[in-house]
């Protein structure tokens, strides 16, 4: 099968936008931007909200059971996604919430593929951003590796 031409809609004519959200005001600005973008589409977009949790480091994984860690990451992830979910709801858009643990760029690329998203919308830098830096390292690496369009929202 040949690769299909680039498209802004999935098989059902719907646009699915992947929104990596860390809960920061900047990431919420990106959600608002996606809401505005959706208004320009023929059919409203589905917002796929993704929170990527960094794996616990060093000694922690040796002492805390896997199930407890998962529960912890799940709770933290839900907390980070709560406001974004509310924004989508208020705009009347369908949204999904996903929480994964791993390297942030790898997880975003993986989620875009897995959840059949047509584009990734994210803040140019999130929590880790140093003010004055135009592009965060995450957006930089995403631009390098993503086969899908990446929309960077500057805040």
């Amino acid at each position: 099968m040949t690769r299909s031409a680039p498209t802004w809609t999935d098989s059902r004519g719907c646009t699915r936008l992947l929104l990596p959200v860390d809960g920061s005001p900047r990431s919420l600005a990106a959600v608002r931007h996606a809401v505005a973008l959706s208004a320009t589409q023929r059919a409203p977009a589905t917002l796929v909200l993704l929170n990527v949790q960094a794996p616990v480091r060093g000694n922690i994984g040796r002492f805390i059971a896997e199930a407890d860690l998962q529960r912890y990451h799940g709770d933290e992830g839900r907390k980070a996604l709560r406001k974004a979910g509310r924004l989508a709801q208020e705009a009347g858009l369908v949204h999904e919430s996903h929480v994964v643990v791993g390297d942030v760029v790898a997880a975003i690329l993986d989620a875009a593929e897995r959840h059949d998203c047509q584009a990734i919308v994210l803040a140019n830098r999130g929590h880790g951003g140093l003010s004055g830096v135009l592009l965060g390292s995450v957006s930089m690496r995403l631009l390098h590796h993503s086969p899908r369009p990446v929309i960077l929202v500057r805040s």
Partner: protein, 241 residues
């Protein structure tokens, strides 16, 4: 005694040592607080507070005890060599991402289970911390005690803040690992067991320190690359129409 302390305060060696000790404390104390918080997380509030307090008190007590041992043992031959080798391993483990997948510890479902997890973790982590501090103190009792004192507020108050910084600014972790590598290298050649070595060649001090940094960063980056190859783990696929 006091005169000695005042004299020591005036040497650059003391201040360099102090900076190193602060660095070691920052990178090797944060996870202790996080383990305590995570182990107690699912307990009802009153029990949780009790478990956190017990865990914190135990961590402090263990550190004081281990620091006394370190002060007593440090001048014996071969102790520094063993400590330096352990420290190299601690440094590598600091940089590579955690081993979440193959954890075989039990879930912290009850109070005593949480306390047991916290105690075991306290022991291991305090040992890491004291080895790091003792090495960075290069035989100074004053620095050893300061290192201990600085680590206590980090366990009690820092909780997740340090860990979050480390996630957001991985350079802290790399620098911390490099620092531990340097301290390990310098400690290795200052072991009284090979006293003649350093006497004959002062430059060995620097060379061994740099070699420690290089070794830690190389091994960690190789192991890290292998770790990162593992796929992201979905925690939940929460669809909400």
């Amino acid at each position: 005694m006091l005169a000695d302390v005042i004299q020591e305060l005036q040497t650059p060696l003391f201040w360099v040592g102090l900076l190193q000790i602060i660095g070691v404390d920052i990178v090797l104390s944060g996870d202790n607080a996080v383990v305590i918080a995570l182990a107690a997380r699912r307990l009802p509030q009153v029990q949780r507070r009790r478990a956190v307090m017990m865990g914190t008190a135990a961590a402090i007590g263990l550190r004081v005890t281990l620091t006394v041992f370190a002060a007593l043992l440090l001048d014996l031959p071969w102790v520094k060599t063993i400590g330096a080798l352990l420290l190299l391993w601690i440094a590598v483990r600091l940089i590579i991402p955690g081993e979440e997948a193959d954890s075989d510890s039990s879930e912290a479902s009850g109070f005593w289970q949480a306390v047991r997890i916290i105690m075991v973790a306290d022991l291991v982590m305090s040992l890491d911390n004291v080895i790091g501090i003792a090495a960075a103190a290069h035989g100074s009792l004053l620095l050893l005690v300061l290192g201990l004192l600085i680590s206590i507020p980090l366990i009690v108050f820092s909780s997740q803040i340090i860990m979050r910084w480390m996630d957001r600014f991985p350079v802290i972790v790399t620098c911390g690992g490099g620092l531990l590598g340097w301290v390990a290298g310098v400690t290795l050649v200052s072991d009284p067991a090979h006293a003649g070595l350093l006497e004959s060649a002062r430059w060995l001090h620097t060379v061994s320190g740099v070699a420690g940094v290089a070794l830690v960063l190389t091994v960690a980056s190789v192991l890290k690359r292998r770790r990162l190859a593992t796929a992201p783990v979905p925690i939940e696929e929460g669809h909400r129409p």
